[in-house]
Amino acid sequence: MSGEDRFVLCMLAPAVAILGLLVAYPVGLLIFDSFFKVDTITPNIREWVGLQNYVDALTSKRVAESALRTVQYSVFALFFEFTFGFCAALLFSAMAGESRWHRTIFALPLMVPPIVAGLLWRFLLVGNIGILNYGLVRLGLIDDPNEIAWLSSEDIVIYSVSFADIWLTTSFVALVSYAGLTNIPKDLLEAARIDGANALKRFWHVTLPLMRPVIAVVVIVRGVDAAKTFDLIWIQTQGGPRHASEVFSMNIYQRMVRFGDLGEASASGALFLIVMMLLAALAYWKIWRPVHA
């Protein structure tokens, strides 16, 4: 082994050890436990059950519903985050040098802890004193401040809890998109303008294709984050009313903590991990590789 190789290994080793102990080993433990019936409430029960935990998880109605809700939540949040964030980035780049203060203020939610964002939105939406509905009455959009029960109606709660997510992360989308937009060569847009392309055509045929990699990063990073969400929803509803806002991560937590069913929680955790890995693989093929190729 050359001196250079030794140096590389020495520098790499502590990080490898930490990630091995705190990520790789726990993941192994997770998969190991998923084949056992383990009960944390009455200890010392540890019984090999093979794939039973997986069968239970995949056939449970409550698990399936929470998985569907995770998709609903993620798609809804991502759609609005992306739309608002991308529009904000376009506005800021159209303002050129004048947008500095706008961007500074717009970045504010980015620094707000998720738990505070969740509490704040709960406070804005909560029945009787939630100021949002009073604002909607003032704007003439609804007649009575109790008309929309954002957090207590089972039909809409999974979308209501995503408002906090949208508020919290639009600025991330905006800042990343803005950085992407400022990297587009001005002469390309200018050339298109001279060729007679109007603003809409320039956007569609020049800006959007060049922004594709940035858009892909934002969608995957934010999509994965939204699918993993726990704290933001937990603090607003704890999954209620009647599980109507229970997403997948919360379902796993509930089975682990409330029911003490470590085996089944592990099986669901492993399934969740596999789905996220597939998304990560997608990210790798679509984004990481082209950059380094």
Partner: protein
């Protein structure tokens, strides 16, 4: 003439739209600040008002006098500082060789770090609970630091890699030419040049730990409860103590906001860099 006026109109439209957008995103947090300085009784008045009728620091006095919140802040700060130190100590050298001495193993390692970022914390939280339990580290500061480090190291690796990619290779070569060993070149030449990037990475790892909720919920009980856990408990323990809750939320979030705004230029650079390249 016609063109100038056209530009002007669209300029006003763009500025107006941007202003509306920015204000609507700033309003919710403003409302939190306004609510925290209302008298506790006014917080739940119907209909609610945006601005306080009377200024009062009653809510702040209440949460600071309580025994739980100040202690939770000390816990949060301790855990965040230790997590930052540990994460940087392992991630900075690794990111350096992963970008400057690129070979198969380092590429695989960075890929592993990227993949780790996709692991849902709840999937890791379940086995981490057992791991810490078997080590006797449940509800201790070192235990929570380890859990937070599992999330902070991948982030620090990806951020630092992005910063090291921008560093000229000649820097180390020149130091080697002057007779430094590889370690000396790293310690005496590379690290001082990278302080900006390291500071941004430190801030991000600090915030990761400071904001973390799920591990703290799973892995702590009485002794090492962090601030977000205590704030969340205002939900149930104190019923609907919205006044105290808003004051605690302001105390918890405002320092981070002020620091980040002060360093905004570097941070936005680091963030978008990390996201686009990571």
């Amino acid at each position: 003439m016609h063109k100038a006026r056209h530009l002007n109109v669209s300029g006003i439209l763009i500025n107006g739209a941007a202003l509306v957008l920015v204000l609507s995103y700033a309003l919710p947090y403003m409302y939190l600040l306004m609510t925290s300085i209302k008298p506790a009784a006014d917080v739940q008045q119907i209909p609610p008002s945006f601005f306080p009728a009377v200024l009062s620091f009653e809510n702040f006095r209440e949460v600071l006098r309580s025994s739980t919140l100040p202690k939770a802040f000390v816990n949060s700060l301790t855990v965040a500082v230790l997590t930052t130190a540990l994460s940087l100590a392992v991630a900075v050298p690794a990111a350096y060789v992963a970008t400057q001495y690129r070979r198969r193993i380092t590429t695989l390692f960075l890929l592993f770090a990227l993949v780790t970022r996709m692991v849902p914390s709840v999937s890791l939280g379940v086995p981490l609970f057992q791991l810490l339990k078997s080590l006797g580290l449940l509800d201790t500061v070192p235990g929570l630091v380890l859990a937070h480090t599992s999330a902070a190291v991948p982030l620090a690796l990806l951020l630092m890699s992005a910063f090291f990619e921008g560093m000229p290779r000649e820097l180390e070569e020149a130091a080697r030419m002057d007779g430094c060993t590889r370690f000396q070149a790293f310690r005496k030449i590379v690290l001082p040049v990278m302080t900006g990037g390291i500071a941004v990475t430190a801030l991000f790892t600090f915030i990761t730990s400071w904001n973390e909720f799920l591990y703290a919920l799973l892995l702590t009980s009485e002794a090492t409860k962090t601030a977000p856990i205590v704030i969340a408990e205002y939900n149930s323990v104190y019923g609907l103590a919205w006044g105290a809750m808003t004051a605690a939320a302001v105390l918890y979030s405002l320092p981070v906001i002020v620091v980040t705004l002060a360093l905004q230029k570097q941070i936005v650079g680091g963030l978008t860099f990390g996201a686009v390249k990571g």
